[in-house]
């Protein structure tokens, strides 16, 4: 697996604050990772994301030591424009990101600065509309769309730049649960089919856990756990930090405390149900 982003002894402090928002981060992100970034509020999640696409240190000023390297480019020495070819960022509130009169124009906007031919632009827009299954929205105004649709358009306008890495800061905060689930399914598809590397800050652990391969748990500017979701959620630290774990993991833990051991911790209700059936079979065959 190739390293696509790496943090080397990286620390960052915002101007005008007294404490470091990130402290001595050492982290390798691999191509194809689908990472959930979680931890108590104020732990540095958003700061970590901004350090990948160059908003830090180019837009948010402050002091830093160490370095962040994205696809061979040192972030502090590369412009955000240059970095935008590799990293796309999606925010909590898509309305802040949308401003064009039609969805098609919205998506094409970023391309206009790349000096592509009309044909290439059209090809890319058509392609992304198709991949995200939003061809039906092409001629609509972004403002008449639902929150879920708006968030898909925001992702389309980023994907059209053909980035390698997608970073998302609580993208489902304003969506209802089913719309959030649809968005996660879409991200999983981009991850699986196009090998897009994804780093997402998200509080809906019970919905996202079945899609990710890795969890980074942060606390006071540091990464305190890094591993497969079930590993991290089973760690004592998760409980101590009060991030909560998906209910299916809770059920697994409570059963284990009562001497009932399953093969592995479930990531979703379907897996838990399968494990329960397996336990029953094992008992009845004894």
């Amino acid at each position: 697996m190739s390293v696509i982003v790496s943090f080397e002894e990286y620390s960052f402090k915002y101007s005008g604050t007294t404490f470091y928002a990130l402290r001595n981060i050492n982290l390798d992100i691999y191509r194809g990772d689908f990472i959930l970034l979680t931890g108590p509020s104020g732990c540095g999640k958003s700061t970590l994301l901004r350090s990948i696409n160059g908003l830090i240190p180019h837009f948010y000023e402050g002091e830093y030591t160490g370095r962040v390297i994205v696809m061979g480019h040192e972030v502090s020495k590369s412009s955000t424009y240059e970095l935008s070819r590799y990293v796309g960022m999606v925010f909590q509130d898509p309305e802040n990101q949308l401003f064009s009169s039609t969805v098609e124009r919205e998506i094409a906007f970023g391309l206009e600065n790349l000096g592509l031919s009309k044909e290439e632009m059209r090809r890319r827009v058509d392609n992304v509309l198709q991949i995200l299954k939003i061809e039906n929205l092409r001629h609509k105004s972004p403002y008449e769309l639902s929150g879920g649709q708006q968030q898909k358009v925001a992702i389309a306008s980023i994907m059209v730049m053909e980035p390698e890495i997608l970073i998302l800061d609580e993208p489902t905060a304003n969506l209802d649960p089913l719309s959030a689930l649809e968005l996660f399914e879409l991200l999983a598809r981009l991850n699986r089919e196009m090998n897009i590397t994804i780093v997402i800050v998200e509080h809906r652990l019970e919905l996202i856990t079945s899609f990710i391969n890795r969890v980074l748990l942060m606390d006071r500017g540091r990464i305190v756990a890094d591993g497969a979701p079930e590993e991290v959620f089973l760690e004592r630290t998760s409980k101590l930090l009060g991030i909560g774990v998906p209910k299916v993991i809770n059920v697994y833990l409570q059963l284990r405390n009562r001497g009932i051991e399953m093969d592995r911790p479930p990531r979703k209700p379907e897996e838990l149900a399968v494990q329960v059936r397996r336990l029953l079979q094992r008992r009845s065959s004894k």
Binding site: E170, V251, P269, A273
Partner: protein, 277 residues
């Protein structure tokens, strides 16, 4: 005592599309009620009727006996605190403590009381270290806590939260849940609009579900959230223990499971039973 009485409420923003279509709802003093439903179902429009920001197009809303159509918003505001989904729409002061003091000053309280309430709210929402900070330097979750603190500070009778758990980790949700229970024990009425099924399952005894401007379910949370017809219609995803119990229905797991501890109990007894037979 009925603190909120909604009768056949219709509302439209532009005179054409009706956002609320015949809402009937009664809330008793000290009740804790969750309002759920997909985006656009009319939840936020409904709660904006409770402090008089919106007036019925048809039907009526009475709050503590006051008809919201005739009583001014300023009078209702003393009794009804509404905490909005997006704290950026609510915050504007230079410092965190001024933000909390603002409503208290407007309501004409004396300085000593204001100080006492500001300190209490800062402490309760764990914002003491940000007292002198600008609200805009806070993280999303901290802003949310500040918005809550600034309403709780003036001690209204009815407290309405619009999506309070967004961007909040489990620990803060638990603190919020504990506080809601504490408020209810003091005779406050608490109404919470939320998508968070797990939060509702664990903390609310009554759940109202809306879809397309109507109330499609109103009852015990257990009955409402374990009914696949209702959750499907309102585009809700049932709690994970409920989903799992439904998948194991054929083995004899009860259908109305809501909490993880209940699911654990039924799995344990399922396994015990299989040992015997």
């Amino acid at each position: 005592m009925r603190v909120i009485e909604v009768e056949d409420l219709y509302f439209s923003y532009n005179g054409r599309t009706e956002v609320l279509r015949g809402i009937d709802l009664t809330v008793e003093k000290g009740e804790v009620v969750a309002i759920m439903g997909e985006n656009g179902a009319g939840k936020t429009t409904l709660i904006k009727h409770f402090n008089g920001i919106l007036k019925p197009t048809k039907g009526s809303v009475r709050v503590l006996g006051m008809n919201t159509k005739t009583v001014p918003v300023s009078k209702l505001a003393r009794h009804v605190g509404l905490i909005f989904q997006n704290p950026d729409h609510q915050l504007f002061a230079e410092t965190v403590e001024e933000e909390i003091a603002f409503a208290l000053k407007n309501l004409g309280f004396d300085d000593d009381y204001i100080n006492e309430r500001v300190n209490w709210a800062l402490k309760f929402m764990k914002l003491e270290k940000y007292r002198k900070s600008s609200p805009f330097t806070l993280s999303g979750g901290e802003k949310k806590r500040l918005a809550i603190a600034s309403i709780l500070a003036y001690d209204p009778d009815i407290i309405i939260f619009d999506e309070p758990t967004i961007g909040q980790e489990y620990l803060h949700k638990q603190r919020l849940a504990d506080f809601i229970k504490y408020l209810a024990s003091k005779g406050k009425t608490v109404i919470v609009v939320t998508h968070d099924v797990e939060f509702v399952a664990e903390n609310f005894s009554r759940t109202v579900v809306m879809a397309n401007g109507k109330i499609v379910a109103d009852g015990a949370t257990r009955e409402v959230l374990t009914d696949p017809e209702i959750t499907k219609r309102a585009r809700l995803i049932p709690p994970q223990p409920t989903q799992c119990a439904l998948l194991l229905k054929d083995l004899g797991v009860p259908e109305r499971v809501l909490l993880d501890s209940e699911l654990v109990q039924s799995i344990v007894s399922l396994l015990k039973h299989s040992m015997i037979t």
